[in-house]
Every structure is written in C-alpha cells, then in structure tokens.
Amino acid sequence: MSNRIQDVFKNKKAFIPFITCGDPDLNTTMEIVLAMEEAGADLIELGIPFSDPTAEGPVIQEANIRALSGGVTTDKIFEMVVKLREKTQIPMVFMTYANVVYSYGSDKFLKKAKEIGMDGIILPDVPFEEKSEFSAICKENDLSFISLIAPTSEDRIEMIAKEAEGFVYCVSSLGVTGMRSVITTDIGAMVELVKKAKDIPCAVGFGISTPEQAAEMSKKSDGVIIGSAIVKLIAEHGKDSVPYVSDFVRSIREAIDPA
C-alpha cells in the first residue's frame, strides 16, 4: 500500500500537528490547516469531536465541547475536507473515537473518508485486540489504520508493530493528552522495539509542547505530534488564532530540522 503518509517521513523528521475540527468554527479550521502546511507541518491530524473523549486531557476535552456546541457534525467535517482538498494535498488523518465511526456505519464512514481524500485514521479507544473490525475496512479503502503504543505496552510492542500501517503513534507518557514539563519514558527504547519488529516510522505524541521537547523527541524518533499546545492557542485566540498557530508551527519546524 502506498499513500502520502510514507513520503512524510522521507529524509526528514516529520511534524504532525493536531487540531479539533470546528473549534471555533470550520472556516477557521480550514484556514489553520492551510497555514500550518505553509509553516512547515508535514501531516495533519484532524480531530472529529466526540462528546466524551476518554483519552483527552482538559484542553482537548474543552475543544470538543466548543466544537460540538457550535453545531459541528461528521458530515459537515467531511464537506470541509472536500473544500480543503481543492487547495492542498498535504497528508491528513482523522483522529476520533470508535463510536463516531461505528455509529455512522464503519463501512460508510471509511469509504467516505477515502473518497474525500483522507489518508488514515487514529482511534485511541481501539487497541490491537479490537482493531480488525476497523482495520479490515481501512485496508479495502487504502486508508492507514494508525496503531498506538504506550509506555505500558512492553511485551505488546512487537505484536502491534508487526501489523502497524502508515506510522506508529508512540504515546510518550502515562495518562491523557496534555502538556507536560518533563517526559520520563525511554522513547529511544520504545522506538527500537518497534523497528526490530517492522521497518515503520515512529512519531511521538502526548505531552510535547515546546520546541526544546520537540527537538529532543525528534532525535529519538521519526517525528513529533503536538495537539494540546496548539488547541490551547486556538482556545485563547479563537477566530484570530491563525498567525499564533503559524508562528508556533514554524518554531517547531525549526527546532526539529537539522541545524
């Protein structure tokens, strides 16, 4: 399977920002995606809001609530992606919860995701044991079903890595998404275990919020994922957040590129 995700990690460290679609509104989401690409993002994680996001810390929980109370739905997000694809070919994956996909009809949802030009999907509440009901449909539609590994995965890493597609999402810390001052997990060892099982890029997420942390994590892996730090900027600046997000993305890009 070849899609745009693989190219993201070629000859460089990848930067993968996350935003919640519809926070504060879908027009701003579109502007932010385009601005992030221009500022050096390599792949975009588009969050489809869920009422009860159990893997998220307070910052992204609140973004989900803002987006849903603004009236965003899965169908409106699909329409937004269609418009985005008229302007950009940057790789994009959805990040949402199992029920958003399952309730829509997993077949219908994933087929539609492919049609509108998405490249993959991340479902943090679908572990290895439950993935087949989603990953089989992803395969039929040439979408990458992104697997996660956590600091507690240990003996499970090999099994997960062997069936991983696109890239492996390495969860840096225990707990939920959100900014942390220190990351204590031995990321280097995690990445090594993945690579031993399969030659696949590893991107590190959860807890990264500063250029320094991004630089450090990118040295130990193939890329970094940042969500809460960006969502927080959007929470603070709303419709005017584009330049703030742009500056932040640029600062991360510079931090992870070799000097």
Binding site: T54, Y102, P127, F128, E130, V176
Partner: protein
C-alpha cells in the same frame, strides 16, 4: 473477535495504555476465582462484615394489597453500607490486595458505590479516591461527606454533564495516569473485559441466595425476578442463577426519567442503539452521529447512557425483558413500599418496585415474584421531599 463477548456486545475498547492493566487483572481473576482460600476469605467478609446472606422477605401486606402473585423482597438494602454495591467491592478490593495494589479509585453516581469502596478501602488499608459528577455531589451531599469520613478523597467531576458517565470517564483517565499501584474498582457490569464478568460474578451471590431461599419458602421457583437497571449490576446479580431456569421471567427496569418519548430519559434499551463507549460495545443513548446523549433520571444511580453488555445480550436473545419506569412512577413506589411494608427503598430500587405494582395484580395467587431492593432509601429522603414540594435540605 476479542475476549469478553456477550453475543456481539462487550470487548475491550480502551486506550493501549490500559491494555496490560486489564490483562493483568484478567489473569489474576482467572487464578483467584478458583482459589479456595480466596473464596473462603471472601465468604467470610460477605457473612461477617457485610451481613450476608441478605433476607428474602415475604411482603405480606403488599401481596394482600395487590391481590395477585406473592411478593418477595430480596433485601440487599440490609447489607453493610446499605446496598448491593458492597458485594462487588469486597471481591474487587480483595483481588486488588492479592495483586499487590495499594490504592483504589472508583466512580460513583448516587454515591453508594463510592461509599462501599471507601468503606472497604478503610477496612483493608487501601488508599481511596472517588470521582463523582459535580451535579451528583450536590444531589447526594451526605454520601460525599460519608466518603470523606471513611478516609477517601472525593473529586467532583465538572466535565460533560457532571454525572455518572463523566465520573466513569474521569476515573478511566486517572487510571491511565497511575496504573502500577492502582486498581480501578468499577462499580457496575460495564466497561472493558474482564469487568462485566468480574462484577457479575461477585454480584451473582444475590441470585444464588434468592434461588435457594425461594425454593425453601415456596418449594418452587419464582415466576419473575424484577430489578432496576442502570449499568445493571444488581440486576445481573439478581438474574444470573435464574438464567438457565427458562420459566422464570427476568425483568430489568430502566430509568425513563420524564418519559421515553422525551429527551429527559436514561432508558438505554428503550431509546438507545448499538455503539462503543466506556470500553464496551453495547446499547447507548446517542445522537445520529454517535455523540453520547445527556441522559436524565431522578435517580443518580441509574442516570447512565449505557447498559452492561450481558444485559444487551439478554435483551437480544429475549431471555430478559427491559421496561421503562418514569420518575413519577418510581417516586410513587418509593412512598408505597415505605407505607405498606415499612421498607424505604433506594429511589433506584423503587423503579423495580414500581413495575411490580403494575405486574403483580395481573398474576395469579399461586404465582410469586422476587423484587430486588438493591439499596435503602435514606440517602433519597430529602430529594423525594423536595420532589413533593417540601422545603427540606440536608
């Protein structure tokens, strides 16, 4: 298909961070459930700490008044801490101790499960933190203080609708944050495998006793067993040993709130559809896009948008039926049982009593029913007074 399935329901839809924790729990449980000394220790706690076996009480006045089937009450309200919740908590905390855990966390709706967890944590010397929706903290202020008195730390949860589902989400989040020394004492037959099985097994003592007690009293099995269903732990405990007895009707009473034709309801099987949430595939109240619905019931303990996977399967197979009971009906039944039998039931249990008030008169005098009184109603007295327009505050 993964482990822990009841038909299509159940499974383990949780973040990878928790997978090794639930695998460790499953392995420990598989070991200890057949361990004689573990079971002996648990029985000792049931009998000498929790006041088991609970009575199967013949409600003579109610029987005469309704003029139909004989009514028996399974008196889980007489357990220590005043509800069935202690059965599961004693089992899980004993298991946690065996696993070397030193800290337990729990969600609570009405506060009954939180109180039970705080109680057993005090007994067993475990650190205890309870997550409770901010709205429920207000509805059940005395239980909050009770937990504090028992040495637990109570965290009001302000996310979402600030009720039971949010308390569950927050406790799951806390578990991903601290796993190595912490066991999550899930309070109902829900969540990821192995919780629905573990909780059911510890609650099955209700039907194990009730079946023997009824056989002894009547020389036959009851015609129906009636219990209230939120997540469904007292109901599955009440049903379990009767499941093979096809002639015994199993009836779960869901909280309809202001009615199943309104948005203010928590009747999952009547109004929900298949989904994936809180670690399991089951029926959930949700909108067309899978957003979980903000449910409502007068009863904080039934105010949950989902139902345990084994109930979902019992519904699919037709082995059990599930009926909606409104706030009004439950409050009437709360008052009726108090007046008629001198038993003040929890408002949750009053949902089961309410359905019995409709069913029993349609049955014949040589038939009998068991109603599980899952808890006592002291915690609800002030709220019911306010519901009736009295200006009483705790």
């Amino acid at each position: 298909m993964s482990k822990g399935r009841f038909g299509v329901h159940g499974g383990q839809y949780i973040p990878e961070t928790l997978m090794n924790a639930v695998i460790e729990l499953e392995e420990a449980y598989d070991h200890y459930k057949n361990d004689a000394s573990f079971n002996q220790e648990l029985e000792e706690l049931f009998n000498n700490y929790a006041n088991r076996p609970s009575l199967l009480y013949y409600a003579e006045h109610m029987t005469k008044d309704l003029g139909g089937a004989k009514v028996y009450l399974k008196r889980e309200d007489l357990n220590h801490t005043g509800a069935h919740k202690i059965n599961n908590v004693l089992g899980q905390c004993l298991l946690a101790k065996k696993m070397g855990k030193t800290r337990v966390i729990a969600e609570t709706g009405a506060g009954q499960h939180g109180v039970a967890t705080a109680t057993v944590a005090a007994l067993m010397g475990l650190e205890c933190e309870v997550y409770m929706g901010a709205v429920d903290c207000e509805r059940q202020a005395l239980n909050v203080y009770r937990m504090k008195l028992l040495g637990a730390k109570v965290h009001p949860v302000h996310s979402g609708t600030s009720t039971l589902k949010d308390a569950v989400s927050e406790t799951m989040r806390e578990w991903t944050n601290r796993i190595s020394d912490t066991h999550y004492v899930l309070g109902s037959v829900m969540g990821p495998h192995p919780f629905p099985t573990i909780v059911r097994d510890f609650q099955a003592v209700i039907s194990k006793e009730a079946r023997e007690q009824h056989l002894k009293a009547e020389g036959r099995l009851p015609d129906a067993v009636i219990a209230c269903v939120g997540g469904g732990s007292n109901a599955i405990g009440s049903f379990y040993h009767f499941i093979p007895d096809k002639e015994v009707k199993l009836i779960g009473c869901e909280a309809a709130g202001r009615g199943i034709d309104t948005a203010e309801t928590a009747a999952t099987i009547s109004t929900g559809r298949l989904g994936i949430f809180h670690g399991m595939k089951s029926y959930f109240c949700q909108d067309e896009y899978g957003q979980i619905a903000p449910v409502y019931s007068i009863s904080a303990g039934l105010d949950y948008p989902g139902v345990g996977p084994e109930h979902a399967d019992l519904y699919d197979s037709g082995r059990a039926e599930y009926v909606p009971v409104t706030d009004d009906e439950a409050v009437d039944a709360f008052e009726y049982l108090s007046r008629t039998e001198g038993v003040i039931p929890a408002i949750e249990s009053a949902h089961a009593v309410a359905y019995a008030l409709k069913l029993v008169p349609t049955m014949s005098k040589d038939q009998s029913v068991i109603i599980t009184v899952s808890g006592r109603g002291d915690k609800d007295v002030a709220a019911i007074a306010r519901y009736r327009g009295e200006d009483i505050h705790e």
